[in-house]
Symmetry: C2
Subunit: 341 residues, 2 copies
DNA sequence: CTGAAAGCGCTAACAG
DNA sequence: CTGTTAGCGCTTTCAG
C-alpha cells in the first residue's frame, strides 16, 4: 500500500558509490571528501531521505519511545503534564506514546505489557487509583528499564518521583479556611491507596490541629474520585446534624460535583459554606462562584519527570531522586465571604 | 542500560535447534513436529519471549503505528475521540501516537514531519484552526500514505472523513431558541477557515429564515476559539443598542466564557438571555445554570475514523468515503425560561 | 521434518 | 579516501 521509502541503498546506487560511503557522508565522517559529502547530502535532501528508525532501532536496540501512562486524558492536569514531558522528550529526539489506564488496575497492567511489546525504552507513570499491587512495576525495575512516577507514586526507594508538596497544600487550605472564619472544616479525600490521599489528609489533620480545631471523623469523607461518589460524600456531609462550614476536596472534579450538590440543597457558597479544590482546572474560573484551588506546576512536573527519565537512560543506575514541587493556593470567591472580600 | 530482550536465537540455542525452526514452531508451522512445537512454545513462554517489533517492522515495512493529530488534548471531545480510535486500533494490533497541534499550523506540520520520520503507517487528523494551506496533507496523499480527517476536514474529494451534521445541529439550536421565545438570536462562530464554522453558520442562517427571523450581521460574531476572544465577542453583543435574547457558540469553551461575561454584566440566564453550546463537555452540567448543548457521538467518531483508516491500509485505493453522524441536542436549563420549564 | 542463507536498512570494524 | 563484511531479529525461500 505505502510506497517504500528512500534508503541509503537507493542513494548509493544513484551516486555509484557504496552504501557505507553514503552513510558516512551523511554524518560528515572525516574520511569522505568534502566534495562527495556535498553531493551525497544534496541528493539525500532532494530525495527526502530520512533514516529508517526501525533499522536504527534494531541496530542500536533503542526505539526512542517513552511510554506514558496516565489515569485519564481529559483532566487538564494530565494533559498539561504530558505537554511538559513531550517538550523535554522532543529535545532528546524521543517520542511519547500516551496510554490511559482509565483509573483501572487491569488496564494499567495491559498498557505496560503492550508498551513493553512495542519496546518503549521506559515509562513515565501516574498510578491508577485502583493500583495496590506493584508487581508489574517491580518487573520493570528488575529488567532495569527506566521508570519514573509522577504525582501518584509508589516504591519511592527504587523509583525516581516527582510530586507536589501535598501535605503543605492541604494544610494551607485548612488554615485559609480558618482565617476566613470556618470552624467546622470537612475534607473529601480519595482512595487511601493513593499517596496523594494520605499526604493531603495528613496536611488537613495537622492544619486542624494548628488552628486549634478538633478533628471530627464525620468530617473526613472518602470518595473514588468519580463525580457520583463525590456527590454522595457531600450529601452525607450536608445531612449531618451539624454540617461543615467549609469543605475542600482532593481534586477539582470532586469539588465541582460537591458544588452542584450544595447548590441543590439550597446552601450558598461562600456565605454558608466555604469551598476549595485541588489542581486548578481551567473550569475553576468558569463556575459561579469562582473556585479557590491549589495550583500545580503541571508543565514543570512533566519536564522534570522527563529529565529524571533521561538521567536513567544516560547514566548508570543511581540512587533514585524524589523531587517535590511547591503548589500555589489561588484564592477566588468560593472561599472568602463577600463581607470580607 | 536496558538488558537485551530474549530473541529467537536465544531460544534456538537453548533448545539446540535452528532459529528458523523456532520461528516456525511458534507459528504452528505444519512442518514442525507437535512435540517440538510444544517444547518451543513452553520455553518461549518461560523466557517471556515477545517478537521484536523493530525486526518485524524492518522486514514487513510496517510499524503498526497510527499518528493522530488533534488541536488540543484537554478538550473532552478530543480525548473521547481518541479513546474510540484506540479501541479499534487495538483490535487491529496497532498503536496510536498522539500529537497535539495546539491549534497551530506550524506545529501541525512539524508533528506530521516527526511522525513521518517515526514511520507511522498513516494519520488520523483534526485540523488546527490556523490551517489554510493543505500542502502537507497533499504530500501524504501523494505518497499514498493512509489519511483520515475527523470533525474539521478538508480535501474531501481525496480523503475519507468523519464529521457530524453541523448544519442540522445549529439549525436545530436556532429553532429551539425560537420555540423558547427568542427573537434576537446571536451566534458566535469560529474561524471561517474551518469546515465546522461554515457549516454551523449555514445552519444558523437557514434556521433563522425558517423561524421568519431576519439575519442581522451584528448578531453574527466570530472568535478564534480562545476564551479571551469569546469574551470579547460576547462583550460586543451585549453592548449593542438592542442586544440579543439568545446566544449560542461554536463550542462549549466559547460558551463558558460567554457565560462568565454575561453574568458579569448582571444579565440572567435564561431569564434575560438564552444560552447554548456545542460539543457537550462534561462541565456543561457543572455550571449554573446547566448548559444546553449539542452532544457529539465522540466515541463513534473515533471508531469510525479508525475503521476508515484500516480500510485504506487493507484495500487498494478506493473512492474516499465521507461519513456524517447525527448529533443530539441536550436541553438543560440555560435555554429554557423557568416559567416554561 | 529441519537447517542454511538471503534480505529488510543501517552502522562500525576491518580492509584496502 | 572508499568498499566489504558482519550483524541487530526476524521471516521466507530453497535445500536437504
Amino acid at each position: 500500500m505505502v510506497k517504500r521509502r528512500i534508503s541509503l541503498k537507493d542513494i548509493a546506487k544513484e551516486l555509484g558509490v557504496s552504501i557505507s560511503t553514503v552513510s558516512r557522508g551523511l554524518r560528515d565522517h572525516p574520511d569522505i571528501s568534502d566534495e562527495l559529502i556535498l553531493r551525497i547530502k544534496e541528493l539525500a535532501m532532494l530525495r527526502r531521505y530520512t533514516p529508517n528508525p526501525m533499522a536504527m532501532g534494531l541496530l542500536k536496540q533503542r526505539t526512542r519511545m517513552i511510554g506514558v501512562i496516565v489515569p485519564d486524558l481529559v483532566t487538564h492536569f494530565f494533559s498539561s503534564v504530558i505537554s511538559g514531558i513531550e517538550e523535554v522528550a522532543k529535545e532528546h529526539g524521543y517520542f511519547v506514546i500516551i496510554s490511559s489506564s482509565y483509573e483501572c488496575y487491569q488496564k494499567e497492567r495491559e498498557n505496560i505489557e503492550n508498551l513493553m511489546k512495542a519496546r518503549v525504552e521506559g515509562f513515565i507513570v501516574c498510578l491508577s487509583q485502583e493500583t495496590t499491587d506493584y508487581s508489574h512495576f517491580e518487573q520493570i525495575i528488575d529488567a532495569e528499564i527506566p521508570l519514573v512516577f509522577f504525582d501518584r507514586v509508589c516504591l519511592k526507594d527504587k523509583v525516581p518521583t516527582v510530586t507536589v508538596d501535598n501535605f503543605a497544600a492541604s494544610r494551607r487550605i485548612t488554615l485559609h479556611f480558618h482565617e476566613n472564619g470556618a470552624r467546622r472544616i470537612a475534607y473529601i479525600s480519595g482512595p487511601e491507596t493513593l499517596s496523594i490521599s494520605k499526604e493531603r489528609k495528613a496536611g488537613y489533620l495537622v492544619g486542624l490541629d494548628e488552628c486549634g480545631l478538633e478533628f471530627k471523623s464525620e468530617f473526613l469523607e472518602e470518595c473514588d474520585l468519580s463525580p457520583q461518589s463525590a456527590t454522595n460524600a457531600v450529601h452525607r456531609l450536608l445531612m449531618l446534624p451539624f454540617p461543615p462550614d467549609a469543605v475542600f476536596g482532593i481534586n477539582d472534579t470532586v469539588v465541582f460535583a460537591a458544588m452542584k450538590e450544595i447548590r441543590k440543597a439550597g446552601i450558598s457558597i461562600p456565605e454558608d459554606i466555604l469551598l476549595a479544590g485541588f489542581t486548578d482546572e481551567f473550569h475553576a474560573t468558569v463556575v459561579e462562584p469562582t473556585l479557590t484551588s491549589v495550583m500545580h506546576p503541571t508543565l514543570d512536573m512533566g519536564r522534570i519527570a522527563a529529565r529524571l527519565f533521561f538521567e536513567q537512560t544516560e547514566n548508570d543506575r543511581v540512587q533514585p531522586k524524589s523531587i517535590q514541587l511547591e503548589t500555589t493556593l489561588v484564592v477566588r470567591n468560593s472561599s472568602v465571604k463577600k463581607s470580607k472580600a
